[in-house]
Symmetry: D2
Subunit: 354 residues, 4 copies
């Protein structure tokens, strides 16, 4: 039976991508989209790709009167979710949260990096972390919870953490990485990653024909990636901005453990085996380097892996659409599992070949 | 007195950028531009930015009949320079070579990475390496040679090596980097770096809206960067392609030496001091992250540096125009020094602010 | 019952877009994709968006041994279709032709503009012109023909003719345009319109950050648009190239007939009424200007229309994806009608909102 | 002797381009740059291309205390210039105005299109119109005025009017255009034309991969072009936005007068002759179509012209950099003439070839 859902914060880029996917999803019935800023305006006015497709209007978000949803997607800035999530859960509505508020399992780490106290740390124990390929048991537990009639909370992984962790996890979990050394992740994102807000950074004329790093040493996705990968002050993460709309590529360099012998074929086999059962992660053939254009507009990830004998280094690359597998697609993948639907329901769209 | 110069291989992107700079240079008198492919065609027909500006024609390259040049710039593919350089030197014409043929000081390393034997290894001893900020003595020696009436050979550094080495060298030379560990350079280039040849890679529709790494673990600039920085199998270098014309950003992550204590201010001071006398390298204020758009169309480099205490890592960033400081601009900077002109003659053009 | 189909010339941009759409089409069963240049290579190798999605290989095109297809799509250059079409028809296989070979109803006009004789003019009488919104009866006749067991030939309209004619036709057919004056169509296309061949024109670095007109006064779509709209030497058509992948916008300026009185509302009503029954053409609300990004990746068209009282001019704008409604999408729309399937089967994909 | 100048409204795109050009100009000595919004901030902080190049700061604009300038450039929004211009003139400071406030010679037309009364119509009679190729006598008179010790006012032509008029004027002034018919100008601009303000329109993700017309039938440059070209309700002007930074291409279609006989060669000759003495306008060889990339970053214009016998139409194309010849470059060209400097002083920079 279809689940009734809503999107809170539907005006932002992740929010509107959720709307696009939910409108075509066979099992979710989109009841309401909200935006504090745009309430009262038609979706198709702000995003004209919906002209002739949907007559939805942005509404105000009043959780206490939410129209009978089984589940809400929160595509809101951090701290907003701290306030909204308990309200929805208390009304028995499950929450799939795309914000950062419930990702970090340690409230102190949250406070350190987000410079604001975590107001509902008691929810952290029971929340599922939403990166299904790496934490399948989290979502299975959340599903069990739901079948027992209790609302569930899923904290979806961020865009950089998703691409970086999908690239690095197979090597790390296989135990072939030197645990005494640092891992370097340099990632590049398209401008949708900077959000809908019109700023100097997102102005066409400043973003176009430019490359730059930002948040060097300070980006908040750093502790999230460390948590996912079980690293402790061993990750240097540097994000970059490049002039394209959608796409995120993370290049992760990992030192081989001293005692391990490896070659490119065995390394590739480790990756192939790791993702064998995961329909949304494609490990490229040996020698293949992921392209973001091959996953743009989709909820898939491409992973490639190389072994460089000379320096005994593993170079693992993950490409996603930052709004797809990096945000809205992953949220729906999590919601599918939560609700007992096939994991890929509504998510098998393919990238344009050109 | 003005020097007569020619550009061999003027049809390619580095070659035509040389032409642009030389046409406006007060001390070099451009006599001839050659292209095997385009000989007989007007420059302005192939590059219409020269319409109404220059009536130069591409000519054939016949070194034995070269029209009285003092100096030639070779903007040719590797191996072509192996053949041409001795011919010019034997005629007393100095060579500023933008190809890779004389960059590596060890002919065996050349053969290993370029898969072809080095046919004139005897020239390697006396060639100057063309990266003036890091090897000023090389160019001073070449200048002395020239003043003694002997032709000189300058092997200009490549684009990735330039940006990467300018970013990394101050830390390495200051002795603050752990010599037992690996250094990671992830660099991103605009599409001019892929050359004028029309291929699937350079096709607008494939390069646009895409990010990808290439040459992972195999890029030929790797041994060149190791040579410049005095590393031995300690560099992992991964180049990436992004959808813009001009611009190259290299992000280098270096581990702090175990015994060294450092903070961001001291690190920044090391960089400031290092480039104090170098007019074409701008060290950004502490916290500044270089933008390629700020150096596009110029021969300048921007360098930024960060210290991340958590992982004891130095993150150094270098931004250049791959055709400017990464190719043609650097070649002219070298030629200026070689000929005794001010280092920045003809090179102080500024980037468009937007 | 599903129809078996093939795509001849599947390596080009229109061809591969056909492949993408056909792979997801519920009623067409894609049997074979051919490419003279790429035969023997996997589709996913050339277009990595298909990695993990399709294991199709490009094959040679041998019409005499075509594997039992009911219908083939020809996405080949002009003159190639002149040769292939009769071979397929003679074997009872229907042809949906995306080339220009059967678009012009007058073989002499074809010879004049394409500088080559039309070798099978006898097929022109019975071919259907593939622009369903404007020539529905053509496709109905073709469908009738097919139900009588005879193969049919559909000559799909070109990209510029589609956008231009959808914009101009309602005004022209309503009789409000001055028949003594000239109509001006200035159209802008993304670079996919220039094809897959790597050339100076399609090189990223030349196409990027550039605007230019091309084929001024000589573009071969001119007589095609005149034929569709019933103009005789009354159209000036100037195409332009802009730096984006997909998208085509045609701006058509038409003089109001001397005797006609009109205002913006009545004009808008004419357009609304005209396309009321056409699911793939969206007439924007009065004052709305079409965006190509709203139709990119889709088979929809957006049309906007303005009346400028000051000069008594109608300005009609049509936006399409040149590979969608301008090529592959329209071909499938035609094939749907031909085969008796719903017109929009497999074509209701929506543009990404950002 | 160098003239002391200031730039009011230096934070906007035209303003900062003025700053770039003035810093390198041998005859103008830039004293002050102002910005209400950014006063107190360093230029190089907002536009990092100036890092290491200029230490100028944005200041407040207080005309009554302006530091001894001979001339100010006003790069302010319309209506702001209405207020500032009289203040400067009254203090004896000449004004080169880039805003629209003094372009239209009829204050009623100004009020009609700008929806605000013209508060100083008495200045319209004596102002020079700043489009030197078409109105040389205006600038000569202004120069004479200046040499008599009276301050002058130059109202520089807008970006669309400049490209459109340079393309259309030779045909119109030669008397070969039908005076009873309408002229169509469809123009395309890069996003710098939309200004520095961060809005939905200028957001990278909305402007990128999109084409659209805007201001259809209502753009305020319409009456300005009509004034320049001496048309009266005979111009349909439709501007479009495309995804590039700098560049503006105007395609103007003009009907040949009934009695005139013409061919492409004679038409081309008319254009060649017309601009023979104008160093900043390049008429391309017959058959040449202007590229905006050939003039980006410069103050030059490229013009191409075609005759289409079939419809007896002239198609004239003008390409400029909207910030160069379309704004800052033209303003400096006007100031050069005003001050008696060579017309092209400081303006002969060349476009990057790629």
């Amino acid at each position: 039976m279809a689940k009734k859902v809503g999107v809170v914060g539907a005006a932002g880029f992740a929010g509107v991508e959720l709307v696009r996917l939910l409108l075509a999803h066979p099992e979710f019935d989109l009841q309401i989209i909200t935006s504090d800023e745009l309430q009262g305006r038609p979706l198709a006015e702000v995003y004209p790709a919906f002209a002739g497709v949907s007559s939805l209007m942005f509404e105000a978000c009043q959780p206490e009167e939410f129209p009978g949803c089984d589940l809400v997607f929160l595509a809101v800035p951090h701290t907003a979710s701290l306030k909204l999530t308990p309200l929805f859960l208390n009304k028995g509505v499950s929450v799939v949260d795309l914000s950062a508020d419930y990702r970090l399992s340690d409230a102190d780490v949250y406070e350190l990096w987000y410079q604001t106290p975590h107001t509902t740390p008691e929810l952290l124990d029971e929340r599922a972390f939403g990166l299904p390929e790496l934490f399948p048991e989290d979502l299975r537990s959340a599903h069990d919870r739901l079948t027992q009639g209790k609302p569930a909370l899923v904290a979806c992984a961020g865009c950089y953490p998703t691409a970086t962790s999908l690239a690095a996890a197979p090597a790390l979990r296989a135990g072939v990485v030197d645990e005494t050394k640092t891992i370097i992740a340099d990632a590049i994102s398209g401008v949708t990653g900077a959000g809908r807000k019109a700023t100097a950074r997102t102005h066409f004329c400043f973003a176009n024909e430019n490359l730059e790093a930002y948040g060097v040493g300070t980006h908040r996705h750093t502790p999230e990636i460390e948590q996912i990968l079980g690293l402790k002050d061993r990750l240097v993460f540097t994000p970059h901005l490049a002039p394209l709309n959608r796409g995120l590529l993370s290049t992760v360099t990992l030192p081989l453990a001293a005692e391990v012998d490896l070659d490119g074929d065995r390394l590739h086999q480790i990756y192939d085996d790791f993702y064998r059962e995961n329909p949304l992660v494609e490990v490229l053939p040996a020698g293949g380097s992921p392209k973001t254009s091959s996953v743009a507009g989709t909820d898939r990830a491409q992973v490639g892996v190389f072994f460089e004998r000379r320096t005994r280094s593993i170079i693992a690359l993950g490409a996603i659409d930052n709004l797809g597998k990096g945000a809205a697609g992953q949220a729906i993948q999590c919601a599918n599992i939560l609700c007992g639907f096939p994991e890929t329901e509504g998510l098998l769209g393919q990238a344009l070949p050109i």
